[in-house]
Symmetry: D2
Subunit: 244 residues, 4 copies
Amino acid sequence: MADKIRVTVWNEFRHEQSIENVRKIYPDGIHRAIADMLNANGFEARCAWLDQDEEHGLSEEVLRNTDVLFWWGHIAHGEVRDEVADRVVQQVQAGMGLVVLHSGHLAKVFRRLMGTSCTLNWRDGDRERLWVIDPMHPIAQGLPPHFELPDTEMYGERFDIPTPKDIVFINWYAGGEVFRGGVTFERGRGRIFYFSPGHEAFPIFYDPNIQKVLRNAAVWAAPRGERIIPDCPNPAAMEAVTGR
Amino acid sequence: MADKIRVTVWNEFRHEQSIENVRKIYPDGIHRAIADMLNANGFEARCAWLDQDEEHGLSEEVLRNTDVLFWWGHIAHGEVRDEVADRVVQQVQAGMGLVVLHSGHLAKVFRRLMGTSCTLNWRDGDRERLWVIDPMHPIAQGLPPHFELPDTEMYGERFDIPTPKDIVFINWYAGGEVFRGGVTFERGRGRIFYFSPGHEAFPIFYDPNIQKVLRNAAVWAAPRGERIIPDCPNPAAMEAVTGR
Amino acid sequence: MADKIRVTVWNEFRHEQSIENVRKIYPDGIHRAIADMLNANGFEARCAWLDQDEEHGLSEEVLRNTDVLFWWGHIAHGEVRDEVADRVVQQVQAGMGLVVLHSGHLAKVFRRLMGTSCTLNWRDGDRERLWVIDPMHPIAQGLPPHFELPDTEMYGERFDIPTPKDIVFINWYAGGEVFRGGVTFERGRGRIFYFSPGHEAFPIFYDPNIQKVLRNAAVWAAPRGERIIPDCPNPAAMEAVTGR
Amino acid sequence: MADKIRVTVWNEFRHEQSIENVRKIYPDGIHRAIADMLNANGFEARCAWLDQDEEHGLSEEVLRNTDVLFWWGHIAHGEVRDEVADRVVQQVQAGMGLVVLHSGHLAKVFRRLMGTSCTLNWRDGDRERLWVIDPMHPIAQGLPPHFELPDTEMYGERFDIPTPKDIVFINWYAGGEVFRGGVTFERGRGRIFYFSPGHEAFPIFYDPNIQKVLRNAAVWAAPRGERIIPDCPNPAAMEAVTGR
């Protein structure tokens, strides 16, 4: 791992170009807003996006030089090429960190790593309160016991994911729902964090608490030890024991 | 669920036709040996195999009428068609039980449900002792604290799987290895059990303890409640609360 | 295990005698209301209470003949004798099921089994919605995706418990809180379910959904296999391997 | 947290004074051998022992100034005063790290934090191989996939502990046993690591791999965030929602 944690922020980058209201909030795209914030805080962040090139900006070389990949997608999950999705999955299994944001719950990369449908209930427009359920978790450091987002999209249970390794946040919505909104997983040597806030129509990625979560998550998800793509070795028996 | 638990035993069914030694042990195939044992014990078991038809014997109708699917495969994982593998995965997510045996750890259906490489260490020919780590687990009922298989293939750590829901068995090998050899997972509404014994060159599926595990696993994995393929509904807010 | 599951419903039984409003709701005590409901549904339920005798109605013999113990306590946790609390803990470790209700989160028996403070946030008077997070869990069978309690006491996060085995319910409160309100644990050979509803000032234990949860929990928590108090045996080595 | 991680190494310190063979290996006690190793590697380690004073060297002040407590005990668990054990438990719940070694599995502090009997199988004299099951875990950094201890005491399953947060090591013994020999837990705000090697009759704490595990564990268990003893607050409802 380099001195600075190297983050690649991947974004679908469609809403910001097609919807006036979203462009006003994120004129250079959600990816740029997140990358700028990370770069201003000691990370080495770059961007990649769906229409960047044939590989969606995610060549083998880019991924091998990425410690943590952030992923935001919504209306074009199906346009992500299977080989690129599989490449991301393999690098996570080898040790790369992955932070999946908001509507990325239905992204190919997330569903292939989870093995579930990753479906949920949703509703446009609600008020959200995030509760820190695991205050000693590295991702929760520096946060208050709970904080609010005045305008958000509701994501509610049942969220069809495997039992998480850790539940860091549970969300409350004024409309009557709850949601496991910040959850961690391990797959192979890689760490994964899913975080539910981040609807494109609201300036959520400028919120100081949300930004703190993203920074904490990048540190937490960064790989430890060597990045290894596993295989099935065929070792000899322990000689002194078996005598074979 | 019907009165009897309906099990479909799926087998690659290649070794039994191509290797004399294996045919002697399982003249009608591993699937038939397991299905006969289940049918003799109150289950309603059928068979399916790779070369049975274009769908490997696993049509939508067969799967919808299967409570628990057993899976044995080894040298032809790649020949299982992607759409059939995805169909199995979807039915597990909807509630069908899945019992994956031995070299099935690399089967498409298992890897897609796990999201990991499912690799491990292996060695032909060893002696194995299985320890019951979770004696109150339904799959362990009626078993002694440990039991042995005199001739087996060694499957050793590190086994690249997500953290299991339950670890029912840990295996010991004379050659110096250990293995989480009986582990459970939940994906969507479905229950999954992976069980490591079952190399084709040894009569392991005739062992009374192994047979008890298979029967317990079929009962444990059978679906509860309705089988549902999840989607993303868009419910209204709780009116009295939000007033919207 | 007898043909019928044998439940002992333990209650502190103080509020019902000292507070007029509570007596109106539960004239014979919370324990009697729960036991009557269980007996009307195929269980064999008895009652025990704090002031019943010197052992709070929980002699060794009573516990050995109890498959599942229900526990409701609130203002007199400190009056439960240490040796009786330890006796209950040991029987849970040996295989007896335990269902802890509402303010029982601070009971000696629960805290000793958890190893944490079991503290939480609370507030008198709120509206509660319980979400089924794990619809395939045996305790959730027959329930709708969510249901409500119009008058309840708020129990909110952070709930200081170890990571549960399963989270069956997450509660939503109109006042802005969330709570892991139905959670399971395993300790030794015993199964434990904590369920948050049940404030004495509201007729919650007459609610049909709540009653269904209690029945499901009694079935789920009933012991499988032999009840065993564990020790530290000193077995010989496997001879053929070590040759010692 | 101070600049250096402050470790207190607690030892029963009886065998080293009463058994000639043990004194030869650890002339100043197991505690001193571990503390010297930690101090030589950038930690600030002190010692405490059973007969040091009425509080076994573990006053409130000592514990409040301890980031991570190591614990070794064997024949005198019952001599540890209940109020001192409860004090340790409370500090762990508030955030202090705890590393329990070898026969400490039966220590009051460990059993009270686990809520189980913590019993196991054992045998004097065996050969042990430790397998790293979770190579990305911080406690496993810098270790080979497996390593051996030529002379050890066998600790075998079933180990009666709650499901661990992480299983870092599984042990193999020549005599035919397996053991979850390196396991983590969280209780309240504190992190706990149990590590099985460390019989007093063998120079195990001088082994370089074992020493690396101890150092990694001290870093991993050190508290993050404030140390807080939890209580049950009674907050007001979120005004804008309830209108109360």
